[in-house]
Amino acid sequence: MRDRIWIIAGLALFAVVVTAPFWSERTPAKDLTKVPNLVLPVNQKDCVAPVSYMRASHMVLLLRWREEAVRQGQRRYVAFDGKVYDKSLTKTCLGCHNKEQFCDRCHTYAGVSGPYCWNCHNQPQTNVAGISPRSMP
Amino acid sequence: MFMFEKAIAGSRRYWTWLFGLLCVTAAGFISYLYQLNVGLGVTGMSRDVSWGLYIAQFTFFVGVAASAVMVVLPYYLHDYKQFGRITILGEFLAISAVIMCCLFIFVDLGQPMRVLNIILYPTPWSLMFWDMISLSGYLVLNVIITLVMLTAEREEVPAPGWIKPVILLSIPWAVSIHTVTAFLYSGLPGRAFWLTAILAPRFLASAFASGPALLILFCLVLRRLTGFDAGQKAIEKLAVIVTYATIINIFFILVEAFTVLYGRIPGDVQHLEYLYWGLDGNYHLVPWMWLSISLGVAALILLLVPAWRTSPSLLPVACVFVFLSLWLDKGLGLIVGGFVPSPLEAVTQYTPTLPEWSIVMGIWAIGALLITVFYKIALSVREELGELAGVQHSIVPEAESHQAAPSIVSTRMQQAD
């Protein structure tokens, strides 16, 4: 009987922890469904793969590019729509996308701290408008 | 009580010792986090001396690990019964030493997060790949052997038959770990100091001196602190092994020195010059290398005279000398000496930094911790068996019921997941 108070206190604590996402005041309810504010390239409509694929699997593509470009010397990527791109994170991806306003925002939002790309790769200073995919040879 | 339970039931002295070791380990871990954050630049290593204390310690402790074969081989191949009580000590020493080796390699990596690449991209033409195989294989072999043998001993049943071939396999495997480790160095075309066929034999000779010397010291410490007696005959036999190995090791060093010094090829001589006489005004390692030689010779004199070798006061001194001498030779001079002078004739001084020492001490502490816990388990099992045997001799029926009852009560069937 004297222990009931402890049990109830423990249960209350458990309830607080389990329901944390529901009462957490970190974000007002109206903002909850808002996606991070991703700045998309202005003068470029197409990506190297369909958006749905890129959203879910860009890391796989990057890893494959990395192996092929660095290790096998195959630097040209024929996209799904027949366009040809350079297999380059710096030149192709960052030629259109901005690291801080695109990559980082989404990664921070989703809590994916992982990629160590930026330990080495840089955001190029090249003009976004100047980059356009080469057409098929 | 069961085997692993014995590790967590000990005297105040035992726990204080473990706590002290844990503190040293924690300090080492903090230093490692610092190194991980800043990079290997926190060590004394440089572009020219690109391996230092970590790799040197790795090399030395591979030798200590390999030396277990010096008790396993006489006992299992030559049926030398006196080693029956200490084979398990040798095997536990091997396990602790191999774990230390792995840790030394790990802390030496610039990108430890990618260490699994060695397994993901196996490269059979790289000796480091084979070193990984031989070290991990040796670890697995010894873990299996000690687990099976100690369990059989505790349960007072004969060990399963399949363990014998495993033990026999561990003998050549022990030789292989140090041979492959020597091949890491002796196959490099640009490093004249290591480019010698005698490196692997020399490694083995020094290992068979330093490892058994350490084992003798452990036996003497255990005799002091616990009731465990390895047996005078076993210790004396180990001392003989240390003696022979020391002689062979010194012989190998002299052979090597002769070839280099009499041959007088400048590229070969320079390394010895740097270590023993100093090069380009750099005498950094000279006193240590001569200390190593002096300790080695002193130990040899002590060991050669049978009366001194068996003397309870001089034997530990000789063993400490052997260990220190070889630690300086292999754990310091061998690696640094290979890098100085550099291919471009540069003499770069290497001084381990405080974080580097702290990490090294942390790994030593882990090794000491493991060996303490392992020996505690092994000796407690023996102690219990001894007590049991004593009781059973005096009052057999009561003793048996007495001993059995609590165990049966505590046998429970756990179903929880």
Binding site: R66, V70, R71, Q72, G73, Q74, T90, Y116, N119, C120, H121, N122, P124, Q125, T126 | V38, G39, L40, G41, M45, S46, R47, D48, S50, I105, D108, L109, G110, Q111, P112, R114, V115, N117, I118, L120, Y121, T123, W125, S126, L127, M128, F129, M132, L184, Y185, G187, L188, P189, G190, R191, P266, G267, G338, F339, S342, P343, L344, E345, A346, T348
Partner: protein, 258 residues
């Protein structure tokens, strides 16, 4: 018509064979066109990139470090104050340190003290490649000893193996030590080994290495050693050249005209 089991097996076997042959043909054709980074035209003939360093020409312009500067800025090579942590792709050392056994007591020491440009030798049989446990460094078909900084675990075995001291390790994060980061080329992360890559990224675009283009004296001559008519080969036919430590059998691709 009835297809028996035997017929079926024979047919399917044939079709498998046909598919296999096609696949093989495609593979052979593919390997020809890929990985050959000859500037200008893709060629079927073997490529082995190499360089001839005309020490005479270089010597004339003492104090010039155009090649080093060009390389460093092209590849984000950091300038670290601590000599122990230095990262070097192309640098110079005095002649007597580079060729210690070319010196003799009584001969005229014309070359003593002359700075010799050094870089990775891109050996025909590279010891660094033999020892690397992860294949983070490997030799390409065109002779370039490449590094994959994504895969390097930082064990520094290659540094111990290299008889030329051509490899550097990133003891600390190099980025703060780079004055102007060239965004088109990655920097390195701390804890990986790096070295001269013969400007393979420029070769892929049909350009010559940065150091070669930067040299005002044209002392660095780059070309295909496998091609008897290439510029370096013509030079090597005409003049006496040495390699660094050829007795080790590594087969350096860098020749020095002394």
């Amino acid at each position: 018509m009835k297809i028996t089991r035997k017929d079926f097996l024979r047919l399917s076997g044939l079709s498998f064979l046909a598919a296999g042959t096609l696949e093989a043909a495609r593979a052979v054709a593919g390997s020809d066109s890929s990985a050959q980074n000859s500037p200008g035209k893709p060629s079927a003939q073997p490529v082995r990139w190499g360089m001839v360093v005309d020490v005479q020409k270089c010597r004339k312009d003492q104090g010039c470090d155009a090649c080093i500067g060009a390389c460093n800025s092209a590849h984000n090579v950091p300038h670290l104050a601590d000599p122990k942590h230095e990262v070097k792709w192309i640098w110079t050392e005095p002649f007597e340190n580079v060729f210690p056994f070319e010196q003799s007591e009584y001969a005229q020491q014309t070359d003593a003290g002359i700075p010799i440009p050094l870089m990775c030798n891109h050996c025909a049989s590279p010891p660094c490649v033999h020892v690397c446990p992860t294949q983070a460094t490997w030799k390409r078909d065109d002779g370039i000893v490449m590094m994959d900084w994504h895969r390097c675990i930082g064990c520094r075995y290659c540094m111990a193996a290299c008889p030329y001291g051509s490899r550097s390790f990133n003891w600390v994060d190099p980025r703060p030590a780079i004055a102007h980061i060239n965004p088109d080329f990655p920097t390195r992360t701390k804890g990986v080994v790096e070295k001269c890559n013969f400007c393979e990224e420029r070769l892929a675009q049909g350009l010559r290495p940065a150091c070669v283009e930067a040299c005002p004296e044209k002392a660095l001559v780059f070309g295909n050693l496998a091609d008897p008519n290439s510029e370096p080969r013509q030079l090597l036919r005409k003049r006496f050249a040495v390699q660094r430590e050829p007795e080790l059998g590594t087969g350096p691709s860098i020749y020095y005209l002394v």
